[in-house]
């Protein structure tokens, strides 16, 4: 099989997740309504109550709220995988004439693409609220969101393949959502949490802190210049490492460990 055959297979596998968009119509409508409420009502109220130096907390908060949605949408891909395991669809995919590593990357990219597409209406709201008119900035935000979503979806899918249980996954996702989102710079600037050492260091190593601050550097550099979790170069290096680790773990898992047979 040539590299082109592999790329073609990868695109088709990625399309598996994208074509399922319509199953989420109600879920997406709810998420979008909640996001509008969060940004246009709650965000404005909070911004009036919180003061962090000269930081425009509302703009800071809006990007954070988007990152929280992107994280949540990507994690939903784990639930998709467990559901597919229960329905025997993972068995079906494992039987297809596709290399396992192509299947792993394809599902991660497809999951990321689908999470990104689910979050796109919210991204458009963010662009409008922040007044971003620059096309390169908008495209850079979209691309970064897609890459982050793919990494997170890859992790969520790998965890789901190991757990093979919607109950266990629910618990883990609840805990990870509570911990990872809260112990990060999604809603609180790194300077504001430095008073609590444990919180500060956990936020520093949390991939979500790096992801959200990278998005802020693209979207609102004038607001967050000098107050991100790390320098731009360090964030890029951290996130690249995270993405590579996420993909490699998915590859090893799917290639060496995973087999079909839900409940066996």
């Amino acid at each position: 099989m040539s590299i082109w055959d592999d790329l073609r297979a990868l695109a088709l596998i990625a399309f598996w997740d994208v074509r399922k968009l319509r199953r989420y119509t109600f879920f997406l409508a709810m998420r979008f309504s909640w996001f509008l409420l969060q940004v246009l009502v709650f965000g404005l109220l909070v911004a009036n109550m919180v003061s962090v130096g000269n930081l425009d907390y509302y703009k800071f908060y809006v990007v954070g709220a988007f990152m929280a949605v992107l994280f949540s949408m990507s994690m939903v891909k784990g639930h998709d995988v467990v559901e597919e395991f229960e329905d025997g669809l993972i068995d079906y995919q494992l039987s297809l004439p596709v290399k396992r590593r192509v299947l792993a990357i394809g599902r991660a990219v497809g999951g990321g693409l689908s999470a990104f597409l689910h979050s796109l209406p919210m991204l458009i709201v963010v662009l409008a609220v922040l007044g971003i008119e620059s096309l390169p900035a908008a495209l850079a935000l979209a691309f970064a969101s897609f890459v982050f979503a793919s990494s997170l979806a890859g992790v969520a899918m790998s965890v789901a393949l190991v757990l093979r249980s919607s109950d266990r996954l629910d618990i883990l996702m609840g805990v990870s959502d509570s911990l990872l989102v809260r112990v990060s710079t999604i809603f609180y600037p790194i300077a504001a949490v430095s008073a609590v050492a444990a919180y500060y260091y956990l936020a520093k190593v949390n991939p979500l802190s790096h992801m959200v601050d990278a998005l802020r550097l693209i979207a609102i550099p004038e607001v967050v210049q000098g107050s991100t979790v790390s320098s731009a170069q360090a964030m890029i290096a951290f996130l690249t490492g995270f993405a590579v680790a996420a993909i490699l773990s998915s590859l090893v898992l799917l290639d060496k460990k995973i087999e079909g047979g839900y409940g066996r």
Partner: protein, 315 residues
């Protein structure tokens, strides 16, 4: 022609449960091989290992020389499987799912659309193309599942209970389509617990029971292997007690007796002679015989002879 599939010492365990226990057999290139056994006998597990969905606990399977443990990517290029339970999301529609499948197995978009239409028309499911999978009947779902394999046409096609839930007319059409795969030189493996299906389709049959292979050969060879060549079938009034069955076994000189739904089957030599002995023995024991017949053994009888069980028997 050589072996398309070589199964060697295959073992598959799920925790403490041994689903497949040391299977060894070959499937010849270009044959239709029937894997016969009741639910839970290890048929599907064996097929899923051949299709690289499961990994063997011990032993190996080679498909055209490629090991499922060492070169699974190569094996998947040669093998396709239509699962026992149709695989689709409830939001899938059959047409889109089949086009996607066709493209994954190598078709271009236009060819995929054309081929999917042809196969859906052949299986008479074209009018259901736009429905959600959740809206389809069990039979239609099954047709969508087997359509995947007729589109794919791999060198080794695996059908796991292909005609379960299908009406008689469709069943015959599917059998014809499976035979057409063989006529094209492809190897076909059919797992079934339907004796008629196994007998009508298979060049050779492997009888699998409790994870072990109990017999292997063509349907005719397997029937010939029953040493007592006749099957005495008796219908009696009332239930048959253990003492009656024991007495009858002694009188007929066979231990191979099977009682099911008021019918007693005995595997005997010289059927006519033993029929008279059976009637006399039962009369002496006060059992009224409603009917008696002497038959050639069927695959059902072969299955009972080699396993001591009946096909309806589950896990």
């Amino acid at each position: 022609m050589g072996a398309a599939v070589r199964v060697r010492g295959l073992v598959k365990k799920f925790g403490n449960f041994t689903a497949v226990n040391g299977l060894t057999f070959d499937i010849e290139e270009g044959e239709i091989f029937g894997l016969l056994g009741p639910n839970g006998s290890g048929k599907s597990t064996t097929l899923l290992i051949i299709a690289t969905v499961y990994k063997p606990t011990a032993g190996d399977v080679e498909v055209y020389g490629h090991s499922v443990t060492k070169r699974p990517d190569e094996v998947r290029k040669l093998v396709g499987i239509a699962f026992q339970d149709p695989k689709a999301l409830w939001v899938d529609n059959p047409y889109e799912l089949l086009v996607w499948h066709a493209m994954v197995v190598g078709y271009g978009l236009l060819d995929a659309r054309r081929a999917v239409r042809e196969i859906m028309e052949e299986l008479e499911i074209w009018e259901h193309r736009g429905k959600l999978f959740s809206e389809l009947s069990g039979g239609t779902r099954k047709k969508v599942e087997i359509a995947k394999l007729f589109l794919q046409k791999p060198k080794v096609s695996i059908f796991d209970e292909p005609t379960a839930q299908l009406d008689v007319t469709t069943k015959h059409r599917v059998w014809e389509m499976i035979r057409a795969l063989k006529d094209e030189g492809r190897t076909v493996i059919v797992a079934t617990n339907d004796m008629t299906e196994a007998e009508r389709l298979s060049d050779r049959v492997g009888i699998i029971y409790k994870g072990s292979l109990r017999a292997l050969g063509s349907p005719a060879e397997l029937k010939d292997r029953i040493p007592a060549g006749d099957v005495l079938e008796l219908r009696v009034d009332g239930a048959l007690g253990e003492h009656v069955i024991s007495a009858l076994a002694r009188a007929l000189g066979t231990e191979k007796l099977n009682v099911s739904n008021g019918t007693l089957k005995a595997y005997v030599n010289r059927g006519e002679e033993k029929a008279a002995i059976a009637i006399e023995t039962l009369s002496r024991l006060g059992v009224r015989v409603r009917s008696i017949s002497i038959k050639e053994p069927t695959l059902d009888d072969v299955f009972f002879y080699f396993t001591g069980a009946q096909l309806g028997e589950g896990k």
